[in-house]
Symmetry: C2
């Protein structure tokens, strides 16, 4: 008997018919003798409907009240799923984030989980109930409703799995695992049976939108066995049965026992924008002064690049999500004046492409091959950033598909 | 400076545009120096949408989970209204029933309020905030979400007004007050400036759907000054200003100072069904045995009539809401066998009409006039029930409009 946390995303619970199917799947697990905790998202479309309502009221919705409104999406799903289970004679009970309680800080719309009370859930599981928890939400210490930001349901699931010391955390999505790259762009893309946490982190942060990056971080930190699999697939994957459905996200040692390619996948992010502040005085504290202003406005910065300076000044570049481009730009105008920098260069028609793989550590020449492949196609590289297991380049957005395809082939991922 | 509780129904907050208008109205009160607590319903249509979802999942939805789903409607409205107020620079904060907390029993879908914690609301009011509370909902002692049943937002408002010792509780609806009868049926119907709690109770329970009966009971019990008025009306009514907008529901002494008619209004209820169990052994405890079985299934019984017995047996009749007719009928089949009663007579094409007025106490002849009026129109009376300030008759549904019109005229309510 295992304790399994399952997470179903918005598409999997997108209609009452689909909710009933999810209930059947859960019932199968429970009847096998497993204890099941289920985390659900809002029905697909619902969160967008709610966000639209808030925007009709206020251009920049008040964050506390925004969370009050947005969190109702998941609350509807938990109630409906509990009913669907009871309708097929499975004892089930729903919990909002506050009822669990999933304690978070009070950064409304982007809260972080501090702790999870497990006693009530444990009691219900021991009573033979399926426990259903609203993903994406929690409460702060004053009882205010908070949300974890988009995709936060994955984080809820992993955090619950960690708190309950679950045997496996299964993330059900509309894809059947993590691929070497997006199959919509490269039809030859292959499903990976395993991927390391580190690789998954790089893949996720690069825009392979299978799992939320914070969820993967959390899973890595607390050694939660994480599996991505399809809610449409009829085969049921349980770790203990040795079944290899979906993609298992493992710690690196496990992975190294297996054969693996140097590069695990090609990730990309379409919605990027880059900003450069030129002629910045080259002295200590400059990076902090720029980034602090940006992050205080809750704009997430992705790549950060600063090259060696000349003539006592340097150029400082970073990328942000395209949706936050205008906001970042206006902050940078202020910073420019404060620092006496020369000018701001910006481009919001860019994308980022990354080659990711732990094999990179022991195999030199990956970067060379990457640049050569892009050069052969006459694709100009605008920014470069590397980590131990990843090389990322910023290029013109129009070359995205082409670059992904040629890199996928060059690194033999279609084999 | 007064403390005012205002309640806005589903139509008043039926769109983001209307929510903004409600915000403007609230702002006006607050800028006059009043402390304002606002109770809101779900946006019109939303509760029905949620109910439909639950029915798609389960024919008889699990009550606990039903409340989890249904209560989200009000939660969306409180967040949106708080945003709308902040957008016009009014400091506002929303509260779910659980956040207040409005403690109820655990009769899901029909919970009753036990107590209300007022400290947080009081603190926010003193900080100059408008406090917005989700109507219709609370939590039980175990933290489960409960709802108060349809129309429960009125009850939430009055209970809050009582707990906070508010100067006035204003119920905003799409009508501008309580009328002598439904103006859609009798165009000459007149708005009442005042009505007593008792009369209002009889009017409400008889189907004048302006206010929920429990709200009026509550208001009477805790001496809450209650005013019904239109959210579309531009005149703002405040008790302290002596303004006579809407209809003020008063205790009887106040009313007796004023001129008033013998009959205040003609109420009616279209959706009734009647059931009769004939040949019931005429012995103590019979009424209890019948009604207990019915009420344990949460079917609300309205009129109850038992006439003197003959030959050691009696006939026992009652009316229920038409939506619960089938349910009541099947329970009664069981009771019939248990009691060895003769047969069940039933009719679900009936309606109930009532003449209501405290003047009835001191003016004999009201009943006579009522029966004569109906008789003149050849309308057969099927059941009769009277209280100190009300006479109700059950008649064929098809005569409803006719009966209301002739009675309205006979009692001079169009004058």
């Amino acid at each position: 008997m295992a304790l399994i946390v399952q997470k179903y995303g918005g598409t999997s619970v997108g209609s009452t018919e689909r909710i009933k199917n999810v209930a059947k799947r859960i019932a199968k697990f429970q009847r096998q003798g497993h204890q099941v905790v289920v985390v659900v998202s809002a029905m697909s479309g619902e969160t967008n409907r709610l966000i639209a309502l808030t925007k009709e009221i206020q251009e920049q919705p008040d964050p506390r009240e925004y969370d009050v409104v947005i969190s109702t999406g998941e609350q509807v799903t938990i109630g409906l799923l509990a009913m669907a289970l009871q309708d097929i004679n499975i004892n089930a009970k729903s919990y909002t984030g506050g009822q669990v309680k999933i304690l978070t800080d009070n950064t409304f719309t982007k809260a972080r989980i501090i702790s999870i009370e497990e006693n009530n859930i444990r009691r219900d599981l021991n009573d033979g109930k399926v426990v259903i928890v609203a993903g994406f939400q929690g409460v702060d210490k004053d009882g205010n409703i908070t949300t974890l930001g988009r995709g936060g349901s994955d984080t809820s699931a992993v955090a619950l799995a960690a708190a309950l010391k679950a045997d496996e955390c299964q993330i059900y999505t509309d894809v059947d695992g993590v691929y070497t790259t997006d199959p919509r762009i490269v039809p030859e893309a292959k499903k990976l049976d395993t991927i390391t946490f580190e690789e998954m982190l790089e893949m996720a942060s690069q825009g392979s939108k299978v799992l939320q990056i914070r969820a993967v971080e959390f899973a890595g930190k607390y050694k939660v066995k994480l599996r991505v699999l399809s809610s449409l697939d009829e085969k049921d994957a349980i770790a203990s049965s040795g079944n290899n459905s979906g993609t298992l996200i493992t710690i690196e040692e496990d992975k190294q026992k297996m054969e693996h390619a140097i590069i695990s996948g090609i990730a990309f992010n379409r919605d990027e924008a880059k900003l450069t502040l030129t002629g910045v005085p080259d002295k200590p504290g400059i990076a902090f002064q720029i980034l602090n202003a940006i992050s205080q406005s809750n704009v997430d910065v992705d790549m950060i690049i600063q090259n060696v300076g000349r003539d006592g000044t340097t150029d400082f570049s970073f990328t942000v999500n395209r949706g936050e481009f205008e906001k970042a730009l206006s902050i940078l105008e202020r910073v420019k004046l404060q620092l006496g920098a020369r000018e701001i260069l910006s481009d919001n028609k860019i994308c980022k492409i990354s080659a990711v793989g732990v094999g990179m550590r022991s195999h030199p020449g990956v970067a060379t091959k990457l640049f050569q492949t892009l050069s052969d196609e006459n694709i100009n590289v605008k920014m470069i950033s590397t980590s131990e297991i990843k090389i990322s380049v910023v290029i013109d957005e129009k070359y995205l598909e082409l670059a992904v395809r040629v890199l996928h082939k060059a690194f033999g991922l279609d084999k």
